[in-house]
């Protein structure tokens, strides 16, 4: 045995040091936090996650804090590789996880968020792809392909269609919304072209036969001058897979990039001349202009409000430092609901740093005035979007210090809010 001393010693040494390191030495001892309720119903905080960083000693670590606790996360490619983060772990939408689990065969390889539609009868996935002609003068082609799953029978069908498009040096097509209206599937497709107005095509298929029925280029206005272009933004249903009979468009007329008089070099954002809101009904094919609900300031024709479509309600959220206003517009009745305002004065002396509308709620992140002080924690608010009633108030709190050296620099910044829809 004595002769093998070197080898034996090396083996014991390796085993001892590596196990000790990975059992005790490799731990960063990051403190644990949890989103804790100050008042209201803790259930309201379920969709809420705060993210930011913990700074301690030499390092800065990204952390996420929710009502169930905190975890370190690293948005690096390596980590994604290691943990195989994929479509299953979307921090934005709750409905995909269940779909991937329940219909794993159908959902395989399908990842585009806005390409899905589901109701009690069927699950549909649509894809649009633009292929260039062989030379730039030739027409390009958009190809739509749809997969549909009959939830009752489990039967899958695949259908597709192609359509020529005017010559374009470079175009890019993608699906922005999929909806069903009666026996028709509408695949709303955005086609982007370099230096041109993007166009929206509603490609309609028969749900039963899979035959293409029609294809409509939505009339959303034309630029009034040759040096102007339209910028079309799509406002589809907030929950990507859910049904909605309509879709909205915010259309801005602005100066073409690079064609302006360019008063100053810093003036990079193109000048906006007008802004219009349109509604498109899938069933009737009707396009109608809506009044701009809110936030259009007197001298500026651009709305600073964040618009979203939840079912039949258009919501405009306007965030100021010390208040938020929510305007709601009932699209079926054509009625504007009374404006809701939430002021920080009703809460405490804080600044609103982030605001989001989702799930019929308004989520607010309030930062304290002493934001730069160590361990200054934000306050998260959940309010009812219809009346501004505060349903929940909470703040992240340290639950376990976890034994980091106490003479070290340590601080935590939670400045971001993620809301699961």
């Amino acid at each position: 045995m004595k002769r093998y001393a070197i080898t034996l010693a090396l083996v014991v040494f390796i085993a001892a040091s590596l196990t000790t390191f990975y059992a005790y030495g490799a731990d960063l001892h990051l403190p644990e936090y949890r989103l804790q309720t100050i008042e209201g119903d803790p259930v309201e905080a379920a969709a809420l996650t705060l993210s930011g960083s913990y700074v301690g000693g030499k390092g800065s670590y990204s952390i996420k804090v929710s009502a169930s606790g905190s975890e370190r996360y690293e948005p690096s490619a390596w980590n994604q590789w290691m943990q195989n983060e994929g479509p299953l772990t979307s921090p934005m939408y709750s409905d995909f996880n269940a779909l991937y689990e329940k219909h794993s065969g159908f959902m395989r390889g399908k990842v585009d968020t806005y390409s899905f539609y589901t109701d009690e009868d069927s699950l549909i996935f649509a894809k649009a792809a633009y292929t260039k002609g062989r030379d730039s003068l030739q027409d390009g082609t958009i190809r739509w392909s749809l997969d549909s799953l009959d939830l009752a029978s489990g039967k899958q069908t695949h259908y597709w269609d192609e359509q020529q498009l005017e010559p374009a040096s470079n175009a890019y097509a993608y699906v922005v919304d999929v909806q069903k209206a009666g026996a028709e599937v509408h695949v709303l497709t955005n086609v982007n072209r370099v230096n041109q107005t993007n166009e929206i095509i509603d490609k309609v298929f028969d749900t039963i036969t899979g035959d293409p029925i029609r294809s409509i280029r939505l009339p959303l206005g034309e630029p009034s001058e040759p040096d102007r272009e339209l910028q079309i933004m799509v406002l589809a249903e907030e929950k990507p897979t859910a049904a909605n009979s309509r879709v909205l468009f915010l259309v801005r007329e602005q100066r073409k990039n690079g064609m302006g008089t360019a008063a100053t070099a810093s003036d990079t954002a193109p000048a906006v001349f007008s802004e219009k809101l349109y509604e498109y009904q899938y069933a009737s094919g009707e396009v109608k202009e809506l009044p701009l609900v809110a936030g259009t300031e007197e001298n500026n024709q651009v709305t600073s409000a964040v618009l979203s479509l939840e079912g039949e309600t258009l919501i405009a959220l306007q965030k100021m430092e010390e208040s938020v206003t929510i305007d709601r517009f009932d699209l079926s009745a054509g009625l504007a609901q009374p404006q809701v305002t939430i002021k920080t004065s009703q809460l405490s002396e804080k600044t609103i740093s982030q605001a989001q509308v989702a799930n019929g709620r308004v989520y607010l992140l309030l930062q304290a005035d002493d934001y730069f002080k160590n361990h200054s924690m934000p306050i998260a608010i959940v309010a009812d979007a219809t009346d501004g009633r505060i349903l929940y108030k909470g703040t992240p709190a340290l639950v376990k210090a976890n034994g980091r050296p106490d003479d070290q620099l340590d601080d935590v910044w939670l400045s971001n809010m993620l809301v699961l829809r």
Binding site: I6, S17, F21, K58, R108, D407, Q408
Partner: protein
């Protein structure tokens, strides 16, 4: 004691001076680094105190490791190079010189695969010895740091922070997550076996064997590269990707070992 263990010991014994030499080099080099970079920080403190304008932040052992990036990593890189070359030399040394040990080694009354495995085990022992030694050394260096830096200037730091402070540890050598360690070193172990089999291809078929060896390494590299680049947003689900990666790893490992064993027992020419 079985012959595989004896063969491993023999290989360790033959390399012991080089191994201890690398450890000594690392220890001396890094000790100098710790003293030097601690002194730089201390001088900064004294200078600031003399000018009396501000008191700098106290510094920790992890800061020193962070300061001395390349200096600290250099002996490690040298050791990696030496071990990398020894992957080849552990075979070729038995063929060179007046007394070609290969004649005796391959005529030992044991399965030839034991020779192959023993050489691989020896390489892995050397690698993990160096890694373990580095861990021990960091502990000692921290003691040294605490000894030479006055407590007024000093801030404590976690061992893990010191490890994470140098990029050479943080990225490939001593990742803080155990899973990464397993993935990195698992790949490394496979690479050693692939190279061994490539060396045996050369030893068995000489000039033509070099061509075979290059093709074989390229094929294994492609398979592992494919496994690593499977896109979680593509056709496969994450759990399937993990299974495919593991499957490809095991297939490459299996083929490499099977081919290596076959070459060493049936095709080798001394």
């Amino acid at each position: 004691m079985n012959r595989y263990v004896k063969l491993v010991h023999m290989e360790v014994h033959r390399f012991r001076y080089v191994l201890f030499g690398m450890m000594l080099l690392t220890a001396i080099w890094q000790t100098i680094g710790v003293i030097y970079y601690a002194k730089v920080r201390m001088d900064g403190w004294r200078e600031a105190a003399r000018l009396g304008n501000y008191a700098p932040r106290p510094f920790s052992f992890a800061d020193i490791i962070g300061d001395s990036q390349f200096w600290f990593a250099l002996p490690i890189l040298i050791s990696i190079t030496v071990l990398g070359l020894y992957i080849f030399l552990i075979w070729y040394r038995d063929w060179i010189g007046r007394d070609k040990f290969a004649y005796r080694m391959f005529a030992l009354p044991t399965a030839r695969s034991n020779i192959y495995l023993a050489k691989a085990t020896a390489i892995l022992l050397f690698v993990f010895s160096m890694v373990s030694f580095q861990l021990l050394l960091l502990l000692l260096e921290r003691q040294l740091f605490n000894g030479i830096v006055p407590s007024d200037y000093r801030m404590s730091s976690l061992f893990s922070e010191a490890v994470a402070a140098n990029r050479v540890f943080e990225l490939p050598l001593l990742p803080l997550e155990g899973v990464r360690f397993v993935v990195y070193y698992g790949t490394g172990i496979l690479a050693v076996f692939v190279l061994f089999t490539a060396i045996l291809l050369e030893r068995c078929y000489r000039w033509l064997g070099i061509v075979y060896a290059i093709l074989y390494v390229a094929a294994c590299g492609t398979a592992i590269g494919f496994a690593a680049n499977l896109n979680p947003y593509g056709y496969f689900y994450p759990s399937e990707i993990t299974a495919i990666r593991l499957g490809i790893y095991l297939v490459v490992m299996g083929v490499t070992l099977a081919l290596g064993f076959r070459l060493v027992s049936k095709k080798i020419t001394v």
